[in-house]
């Protein structure tokens, strides 16, 4: 009874203490959160960390809430409340009354005493007149100062450009691309599974699961490409049932076509019929172009390149390096066009082509602008990068950069669609290496002519004189041995690497790449 009255009088004190603890906890949490955010920003100077604004805000919000809630929910004992009240000038009245009441409850006091009762009444009176606002939360000046200092540093570090942030953004884009690509691959695998025998179906499922895991674990585009190449190689033995049934006829037809493979016009027809992707018409041409897996890839790639020949679709493809639409679009297109091959493989190829530009976009500011030069880069990579697992990425880069700088867009587009696709589409896989040895460079072959060529001279009086000097070359293309242009490419790339805002490591990659090529040569 005595104690109840005292505890009732202590209730406002307890409420005030809980509020004070909440404030103190929030101050501590704010300081800790900003400290953590600062730490993360410092770590981000060395390790790429995506979503930098999120990581700046999240620790602050989380720790502030956590500390505030933790402090506020901590129970306020009667003793703590009594001592807090006594500190406000009650001169140990409350704690004494509380102790006496507790002792009375435990029957440690012999009998009721008037003095004890007077003391309890005195304490209750004092508690009733106590202004609980005098119970201060304690100084949080240090915590707030620390929070302010950390906050300023975090903002400064957020505003200062950090190469690691760009790297992290690139990784994020890559991860997004991989995720979407993997979804496409999974969809394609489901479609393919219906066309496979049970063993192959299981193999395909295992393969896609492995690929998914590898892609999730891949730290950069190189890892992803390696995983994709490995999956592609593992996919090679898998054949759809319908194709196996028609194997004899297909082989015969392929053999017949292979004899005419050297003829560019036939190859062009074959390729163009594939790229038109009419479901009915594709049957005959695809059987020819599917004589090997590489041929199938080439047809898909040439389709992609054919798409790139149109300026509008080319820019879509380029910008799609970090957007899902281009990946799924190209994958869907690939699955539609190749009814006889595995859609999974085509989705893989599409993802590979999407992965490489994502990295180049991230590392080079010019790549993200979606210029037409990058369009040709995408087209070449999809056609050249896929066949060889190890060298595919390197060759793709090389071709992309070379085409971007050495040819015009129209030349690149025109060259890819009629001739390039005919050559690659009909080439036998045994000649895969030879494919790398030729570089599309119509100006160098001097077999083409320019549509128009003008000369502009500035006169002494400031006027300029422009005159046609005859037809130029360039609309018709041709391939030259890569050894002829290798040095020029190397010089161009080296200059480009020095000019661009590349890290020393990335610059070293460029140098190493050409050093390796030189060694091979």
């Amino acid at each position: 009874m005595m104690k109840n009255e005292l505890l009732k009088a202590l209730y406002p004190v307890k409420r005030r203490l809980r509020r004070n603890r909440l404030l103190r906890g929030a101050a501590w949490g704010l300081a800790a959160g900003l400290g953590a955010a600062l730490l993360l920003r410092l770590v981000a100077l060395f390790i790429p960390l995506a979503d930098r604004w999120l990581w700046a805000v999240l620790p602050v919000a989380m720790l502030t809430l956590l500390f505030a809630a933790g402090n506020a929910l901590r129970p306020v004992t009667d003793r703590t409340a009594a001592e807090a009240a006594d500190r406000c000038g009650l001169k140990e009245r409350t704690i004494t009354a509380l102790e006496q009441a507790e002792m009375a409850d435990r029957s440690e006091l012999p009998s009721a005493s008037e003095i004890r009762e007077l003391q309890r009444q005195d304490a209750c009176r004092a508690l009733e007149t106590l202004d609980v606002r005098r119970i201060r939360p304690g100084s949080v000046k240090k915590q707030l100062l620390a929070a302010l200092a950390c906050g300023v540093l975090v903002i400064v570090l957020l505003l200062i450009p950090n190469p690691r942030d760009r790297e992290a953004d690139a990784r994020l884009a890559l991860r997004k691309t991989l995720k979407e690509g993997m979804e496409e691959i999974a969809r394609a695998a489901e479609l393919d599974a219906e066309r496979l025998n049970p063993e192959s179906r299981g193999e395909l499922r295992r393969l896609t699961e492995d690929l998914k895991r590898n892609l999730e674990n891949s730290r950069d585009e190189t890892d992803a490409l390696v995983a994709l190449d490995r999956a592609e190689r593992q996919l090679e033995p898998l054949q759809p049932l319908d194709r196996m049934e028609n194997r004899t006829a297909g082989d015969v037809l392929a053999a017949a076509r292979s004899s005419d493979a050297s003829k560019p016009s036939d190859a062009s027809e074959s390729s163009s019929s594939t790229s038109e992707s009419s479901a009915d018409a594709a049957e005959s041409s695809s059987s020819a172009s599917e004589s090997s897996t590489n041929t199938a890839q080439s047809s898909v790639a040439s389709q992609s390149a054919a798409g790139a020949s149109q300026p509008s679709s080319a820019s879509e493809s380029a910008s799609g390096a970090s957007q899902s639409s281009s990946v799924s679009g190209s994958a869907a297109g690939a699955s539609q066009s190749s009814s006889a091959g595995l859609s999974t493989r085509q989705a893989l190829t599409a993802l590979k082509s999407a992965v490489t530009p994502a990295s180049s976009q991230a590392t080079s500011p010019s790549a993200s602008s979606g210029t037409q030069g990058n369009t040709s880069q995408s087209g070449n990579q999809s056609s050249q990068g896929s066949p060889a697992a190890g060298n595919g990425n390197g060759n793709g880069n090389k071709a992309a950069n070379g085409a971007g700088e050495g040819t015009t867009n129209l030349e690149q587009g025109g060259g890819n669609s009629p001739n390039g696709s005919a050559q690659r589409g009909t080439r036998d896989p045994n000649y895969k290496e030879a494919q790398y040895e030729t570089i599309y460079d119509p100006e160098r072959t001097e077999t083409s002519v320019r549509d128009e060529m003008t000369n502009q001279n500035r006169l002494e009086n400031g006027e300029s004189l422009q005159a046609e000097i005859g037809p130029g070359k360039g609309t018709l293309g041709g391939s030259v041995p890569w050894s002829e242009v290798f040095r020029e490419y190397e010089q161009t790339e080296t200059r480009s690497a020095e000019r661009e805002n590349l890290t020393p490591t990335e610059r070293q990659w460029v140098n190493d790449y050409y050093s390796l090529l030189t060694a091979q040569q």
């Binding site: 001592e83 009245r93 004890r116 007077l118």
Partner: protein
């Protein structure tokens, strides 16, 4: 015959002690509510004749109500004897004064058996000494020999006197107020630690300020000076003492008092640096008792029914200054007890949250 006399004395002592057992409890309840008022009344009455020395008067009153003895230390002429006399007058208690000299003998203060002639013949009769009074003023106590000083020990602690094998209770309330001169030390016998420990307080009587001195001069050199009146008696004093004993003390406050006493011991593991460096020995458990009993009285005097930390802090210097001894390093460094006690008080934190 001797036993008969002794029995008679004992009965007298019980008669002189009007508040025992349940009576004391009843008195405590009666006096608790009016304690502060009565205390202030007594203090104000003493102040009519004592100009200034407010803190000395307060310490003296606290000690008297707590039932302890007080050692007043100050240069001659500061009104120590007058203060004790006024206290006796206000409280209406029997007062006796002993001027201690080197040739004073124990029997001179305790009393002795003398041969008296009665109708039945010669017989020994105990002749009470000046100790048989409620308020005993032992003036310049350090001038008496240790033997005489030791005669005071039993009276101060046990409130009893033993002469010729017979113990006689002293009247209650009983307390000894001793004075000593701190400057004239030649031919004196410094009080031994055992005796010093029996004083609840050692109060330093400071020299009055200019205003106080002017008021003293004005008051004493003219006729018609205000005279203190009796405002309380032995029953009231004992009732107030009983009320003070019942005042509860929070565990944290009590622990603070104990830590303070322990802090004076240089060998204690919790002793602060100042204690380890400058003290030779620390206060006895009587110091802790003194701290708490005086704090209880002060709490009631301040209108509280519980002891606060500030009560302990107030009582600590007077309770501890005569119970600690400085070592050679402190003396050579010119440190004084007051400074060391101030440092001790700031070094020992108030015990909260236990």
């Amino acid at each position: 015959m001797t036993e008969k006399i002794a029995g008679k004395e004992t009965a007298m002592s019980e008669q002189n002690n009007p508040l025992n057992g349940t009576a004391a409890e009843t008195a405590a309840e009666t006096f608790a509510e009016t304690f502060a008022e009565r205390y202030e009344q007594i203090r104000a009455e003493i102040a009519r004749e004592m100009i200034g020395q407010r803190e000395v008067v307060e310490h003296l009153l606290l000690a008297v109500i707590a039932g302890g003895n007080v050692l007043l230390e100050g240069v001659p002429g500061l009104g120590k004897t007058h203060l004790v006399r006024v206290l006796g007058k206000v409280l209406n208690l029997p007062f006796s004064r002993i001027q201690f000299t080197p040739d004073l003998m124990p029997a001179d203060i305790t009393g002795t058996n003398i041969l008296v002639r009665t109708e039945e013949g010669n017989a020994f009769r105990f002749q009470e000494g000046p100790l048989f009074s409620s308020i005993v003023l032992a003036d310049e106590i350090n001038r008496a020999t240790p033997k005489t000083q030791a005669a005071l020990l039993e009276a101060m602690q046990e409130h009893a006197v033993t002469v010729a094998g017979e113990t006689r209770k002293l009247p209650e309330p009983y307390f000894v107020l001793a004075t000593q001169n701190p400057v004239e030390q030649e031919g004196t016998y410094p009080l031994p630690e055992a005796q010093l420990d029996r004083f609840l307080f050692k109060v330093l009587v400071p020299f009055p300020t200019l205003e106080e001195l002017g008021a003293i001069v004005d008051l004493t050199v003219k006729d018609g000076a205000p005279q203190a009146r009796q405002v309380a008696g032995a029953p009231e004093l004992l009732g107030m003492r009983a009320a003070a004993r019942a005042v509860p003390v929070a565990s944290g406050v009590q622990e603070y008092a104990l830590r303070l006493v322990l802090a004076t011991h240089p060998e204690s593991p919790d002793a602060p640096e100042v204690s380890r460096k400058y003290l030779r020995f620390g206060a006895s458990p009587r110091a802790a008792q003194a701290l708490l009993s005086v704090s209880r009285v002060r709490a009631l005097a301040r209108g509280r029914f519980n002891v606060a930390f500030e009560d302990i802090r107030f009582a600590a210097p007077a309770c501890l200054r005569h119970r600690i001894a400085l070592n050679f390093e402190a003396i050579s460094a010119g440190r004084d007890v007051e400074g060391i006690l101030r440092e001790l008080l700031s070094a020992v934190p108030e015990t909260r949250g236990t």
